[in-house]
Amino acid sequence: MSFAWFVALRYMRDARGQTALILAAVAVGVSVIVFLSALIGGLQTSLIAKTLGSQPHVTLRVPREAPRPLVEPGPDLAVARDVTERAQRLRSIDQWPSVMRTAEGVAGVIAASPSITGAGFAVRGEATSPVVVRGVDPERFLAIIDVRARLIAGRYELDGGGVVIGSKLAAELGVTVGDKLRLSSSEGRDDVVTVRGLFTLGNEGVDGTWVLTGLRHAQALYGLPGGVTTVELKVADVFAAERVAAEVRARTGLRADSWMAINRELLEGLSAQSSSKLMIQFFVIVAVALGIASVLIVSVVQKSREIGILRAVGTPAWRISLVFLLQGGVLGVLGSFAGSAFGALLSRLFEDATRDVTGAVRFPVTLDLELFALATAIATGVGLLAAVIPARRAARMDPATAIRNG
């Protein structure tokens, strides 16, 4: 075994109590880092998954119709005018098949689906409920929102006057699979449809209002033969949605809203959460580093006479500093192993302790190897870095003075 390893390990073994204490401190620090990362990572992943479970990544629609004033005020022209916003009517996207092909050609887009989104009422007997009618191409829509996987009853069939509706809406109207209801659109047309399936997407608004029907059927209800009001896109990387939306906007001239723009508050919340997580982790790392550094500095002072003797009998200064660097590194590595294990345990316990009454996980934690590797790398680096000052101090010690004064 090399001299530096031998002396470093012996010193750590000899000061067992001190070593155990600082190892515990490093382990606690690392477990906080691991636990926080796992918890916040898991929460964010599940929140985003939940959000995107009931909305497309990017939605294309026609631009708002804006009133065009006859005269514009200029530097030498003052205008007194009263501009009234126009009421927005349901309009179809011009040349939507070509728009869809263009959108599909944008890098990052993996699916596109045409649809009609309109307002209306569902009536059954005495019960009347406001609804959002979604006329879709059944197969293409599944790529945007996988309704088939979220069915709780019946089948995903939208042809021949069949509809699939949200489970909350069904409960509101007292209907189930096989029942009929009357659908009237905001354009004043109505039709009787048969409920073929019920879904739960996990979003109250969606589960309480959505009525999915065939595209052709919706076109008839809203008087838009051959037209669609929106084209919905799915992208490969959900966080690239805003960039994709900008590109599609530029190419088509349509309004393109990404889920990121629509859920700005959610994203801001997540990013604030991430920042506070980083901040806590940073200060934990600083505390761990200070702990390791102070233990090693005390150790250098305690052992200054021994260091003087080792130097006197011919040990080079760099080899002495290596002894202390190694101690810092070893404390970091061992502490991070213990801390990773403890952090993982803590995460699992937390996950179990916060299950809801049905036993479902409310706060999922994400533990991956990458996290442990990162924690180990950070702790080892911090250990080495924290040992730099004590190691230099040990190397600079004057042997004659150290031996005389101890």
């Binding site: 090399s2 001299f3 003797i309 006197a312 009998v313 011919g314 040990t315 080079p316 004659a400």
Partner: protein
């Protein structure tokens, strides 16, 4: 007549001053030549510069003026690394307070100089260390922690440590300073034995006239100068 063997150590005009504003002169020009195989006592009152001289010879400190030639190497031309390497190969140290490393066993303590110098222990170094510990009568204490040995035993380990790598010159700073009479005699007898058997040169700083009188030569320092340098007449009988 055969030429005399080259000296192990030549100190020429060594001056050592401490302090920047108020200069304290610890050594005021010391000349000293030590031949191979000599066992020299360095004596003098407290503050006479004995320890300062020993630190200069031990390459733990540099002189303000003058030169120290150790085994033919002019040490003023060496940097810190060079001095460390020369220390490791030319010198052995025995300190007053034993100064063993408490976390290590007797054998490990004896091995540390060659280990620290080369980075790894060699089989030869280990064999030499074990032989040395046997020679000082500690064959049954090889794996005892330093702190589990008596004062006299610790000092014998220290002598084994100073000699295990067979340095030409061993510096002993009051090696018997805090030992009882019996242990003192034992430790000095060991040094005398290795001086005769291995031909190792010793410089022993001591306050004890009984020790000094058993050496080959006595050098006395007063106020940073050599005031007397005389051979010891062989003991009668």
């Amino acid at each position: 007549m055969a030429e005399p063997p080259p000296p192990v150590l030549v100190v020429a005009g060594a001056v050592k001053e401490y302090g920047a504003a108020v200069k304290t002169r610890a050594l005021a020009g010391v000349d000293l030549t030590i031949g191979p195989g000599e066992l020299t006592a360095l004596i003098g009152p407290s503050g006479s510069g004995k320890s300062t001289l020993l630190n200069l010879i031990g390459l733990l400190d540099r002189p303000t003026a003058g030169t120290i030639v150790l085994g033919g190497h002019d040490t003023s031309t060496l940097d810190e690394r060079g001095l460390t390497a020369l220390r490791a190969r030319m010198l052995g140290f025995v300190f007053q307070f034993h100064h063993l490393l408490p976390a290590f066993t007797a054998l490990e303590n004896v091995l540390l100089p060659s280990w620290g110098d080369r980075g790894r222990p060699t089989a030869d170094a280990r064999a030499a260390a074990e032989a040395m510990l046997r020679a000082v009568g500690l064959a049954d204490r090889l794996h005892y922690k330093a702190t589990d040995l008596s004062g006299g035993q610790q000092q014998r380990v220290a002598i084994a440590r100073a000699l295990a790598h067979r340095p030409p010159l061993v510096l002993a700073d009051e090696p018997t300073g805090n030992l009882d009479t019996a242990s003192s005699a034992e430790v000095f007898a060991l040094m005398r034995r290795f001086n005769r058997e291995l031909g190792t040169t010793f410089i022993v700083v001591t306050h004890d006239p009984r020790i000094a009188d058993q050496c080959d030569r006595i050098v006395e320092l007063v106020d940073g100068r050599v005031v007397s340098d005389r051979p010891v007449p062989p003991a009668p009988g």
